[in-house]
Symmetry: C2
Subunit: 458 residues, 2 copies
């Protein structure tokens, strides 16, 4: 076979050693927090049956699913006529599996399949790649990780407060210090539509609201009247809502006034108050929660709290979001499974860490000590100590061949190895080792025990 120049599919990525170290740091930080809050990990298969996936993400989602050809003679169930009816028709004949598109549908499927044995409330987290046949562009990949945590089987608002606490803890641990956790409640949005006489139109309202930042208040008002069928009175009645400001408590009291005629709206306010009370009781040092009446996402899905986290002063979308839903598993015939969940945008948080240079010193350093390989005698002298270091939990390696010193040092530098051990005939005669600190350049001639003591605490 002729040799070929290999490549990877568009929109996919290799993660090399340095990226992996950073990604591991990021994901380990998130996982540690999930675990501390009692969440348990789940992994589902990469391929799901198309019967599970199709129809769950809208027509566009169905298009964006990667479908897997049936194995073997995949055309065996197709007739010429199927071929002529085209791709969409023939799909059923040639493919019955697709790649995971998100983590929510597989989670719902898992809950339905295991409802008899799971312990509810079920707190699960899941960190796995998903695939979408989107057109690749900067920051948008065809394979990317999602990182979800959900509690299902309870409508306790403590769960909402715990989500705030987890968002806070993860970002604190990552040293992302300047962020805002925005919170709203779907019922408040419903109530607002009611209160301005546009009952049931919160979707239209929210689409317009969503553009506030981008096009400004006047254009939004124009759009509501001209394209969304809102009356002038409704738009006027909305004015105080857009202008709500001050502390969360101040905003809530304004909302109570505006929503006083809407039962569902007041319920939303009450829920939000309860969540904020729990956040208070947790006593977070600096919870950074901000009620944002214009926060609207997942309207086809969320029924209670809505969350979103933004990093201030960094030009990037939200890095985390979520909300409460009341019917996770209805599509699979199991009604009434309510829950609340959120996810971290791992790729975006990675980019924030890069931009703000937040990776802790040593993140990309894997080996602590490298033994230089002078010659066979030196090498054999070093091997027992190498093993002793490893037994002590120190990551260590020996350059495997006695090549030029410069090459070995370059290797140590490229791998960001902080300590190098040299043992020539002088050291061997004295039964010592020269330990070189690669950053300071400092060298000391010490015994094996001293060397171990020196590098062990790193």
């Amino acid at each position: 076979m002729a040799a070929q120049k290999p490549s990877i599919p568009r929109g996919t990525r290799d993660f090399g050693p340095e990226q992996m170290e950073k990604r591991n740091f990021l994901l380990d930080t998130i996982k540690a927090t999930f675990r501390k809050f009692g969440f348990q990990q789940l992994e589902t298969p990469t391929m799901e049956n198309l019967s599970v996936l199709m129809g769950k993400y809208g027509d566009e989602g169905d298009q964006l699913l990667f479908k897997v050809l049936n194995s073997g003679d995949y055309l065996k169930s197709s007739k010429e006529d199927d071929f002529h009816q085209g791709s969409k028709h023939m799909l059923k004949k040639v493919s019955e599996k697709g790649l995971r598109y998100d983590l929510t549908v597989p989670f719902a499927r898992y809950v339905v399949m295991n409802r008899g044995t799971l312990t509810f409330p079920f707190k699960r987290f899941q960190i796995q790649p998903v695939w979408r046949a989107d057109r690749p562009q900067k920051g948008r990949y065809r394979e990317f990780y999602q990182c979800d945590a959900d509690v299902v089987g309870t409508d306790s608002l403590i769960c909402e407060a715990e989500i705030v606490s987890m968002m806070n803890e993860v970002l604190d641990n990552l040293k992302v210090s300047d962020f805002t956790i925005k919170i709203n409640n779907r019922k408040i949005l419903t109530g607002i539509a009611e209160a301005v006489g546009q009952e049931g139109k919160e979707a239209e309202l929210c689409v317009a609201i969503d553009k506030l930042d981008k096009i400004g208040l006047e254009k939004v008002q124009e759009e509501l009247m001209q394209q969304r069928g809102f009356s002038q009175e409704s738009v006027a009645a909305l004015q105080p809502i857009f202008e709500v400001s001050g502390s969360n408590a101040e905003k809530l009291s304004v909302l109570k006034e505006i929503l006083k005629g809407s039962e569902v709206g007041l319920k939303g306010v009450e829920e939000l108050e309860e969540v904020l009370k729990y956040v208070d009781l947790f006593g977070l040092a600096n919870p950074r929660v901000e009620l944002d009446v214009t926060l609207a996402r997942g309207l086809s899905y969320y029924t209670g709290a809505i969350f979103e986290v933004k990093v201030n002063n960094v030009q990037i979308g939200s890095i985390s979001g979520g909300g409460r839903y009341d019917n996770l598993t209805g599509v699979f015939g199991m009604e009434g499974m309510s829950g609340v969940g959120f996810s971290f945008g791992v790729d975006r948080i990675y980019d924030v860490m890069e931009e703000l240079e937040l990776w802790p010193v040593g993140t990309t350093q894997s080996t602590a000590v490298m033994f230089v390989n002078f010659d066979e005698q030196s090498q054999n002298y070093c091997l027992p100590l190498l093993q002793r270091l490893r037994n002590e939990g120190v990551s260590a390696e020996i350059y495997p061949q006695s090549v030029k010193m410069k090459k070995q040092m370059t290797y140590a530098n490229n791998k960001a190895i902080p300590f190098v051990v040299l043992a020539g005939s002088n050291e061997i005669e004295a039964q010592k080792y020269t330990l070189k600190n690669m950053e300071s350049g400092e060298q000391s001639v010490i015994s094996a025990d001293e060397l171990i003591a020196k590098v062990k605490g790193l």
Copy 2:
């Protein structure tokens, strides 16, 4: 849409919380060892171009690849004639990507694509799922994890000794105490074929040797003569090889005698001696390495050392294996990239841990402390301490609703939570908490500080 009973594709698995905890323990143990030896992690995309995958695993492998349909109108490049020419012909028109089949080809592809920037010797490990459209059966899945470590860009035999050391360390840390690391060298097999006058026939020889355990010496001899074209003299000359026994040193000295006329055979013996010398210098407490002249695997690929690890007294195949190769990247036009690698059979090791009940106590326990939720007052009294525990690194949760005590205790039991905190009006009045040890049943009424001190060291 009508509700449907969901399922997962044949040969795939969900990993629920308990399995994930066990799998994490297993993989974390392996990763920690890889890192300690200076190996760095790599992750490659799930989908590779079919041009990268096809032709690398033989015809059967090509068949077993899962192929992904081109997105959008996947039939757009196909004509009626293509359809009539059948599945194999039409594949080129409808699919250009497939799912990763192993970790070696993607690794080779990565090395070729990044040869300009990688630091050699490059020590990489990779733990990711792979997919094969094999017929599913007990212990054989269509999605399963592989776990590989390789050093490429050096032919130093220290690397072989380090592999022995890593296998040893991982299994020791997993408490799999009764195992054997079998080692052989491809050159010895070549030499044996030469020495018995059947030069170039080591493949035939090995296929027969491989059956020694199953069908016995006589049947193997019969097969060699009747099906593999070995002369009676060759088979007679093989006799002492099958009978080699004793310590590794004793076996090596017998081999030297048998192979004295074969240059390549003696080279193999010399390499093996050097590897065993390094293993000795590492001073492993109990290296469990056994030279096995009948060990033959990866003959189309391995050129030097060959490894295999078996757990004694457990009916399961090898749990780890590997070897040295001298041309990782030739298929991609980059010659002379030699290396040595090995892999752990994660599913099999998992099964061994299950069978021998080797999981450490607490492996499947994720939450250390659960607060019982009596009523609103009790709940609100507990929230600040809950957060304090988490701040101290203790995984803790509160049952989110004040349901019946029995239900809450069942939840704690199902999650294997070792400590439960109860705080009713008496405790609140005294500003104390009742801490209950779920295993011993022991209860004590203590202050917040005492409680933290008690559960923190777990």
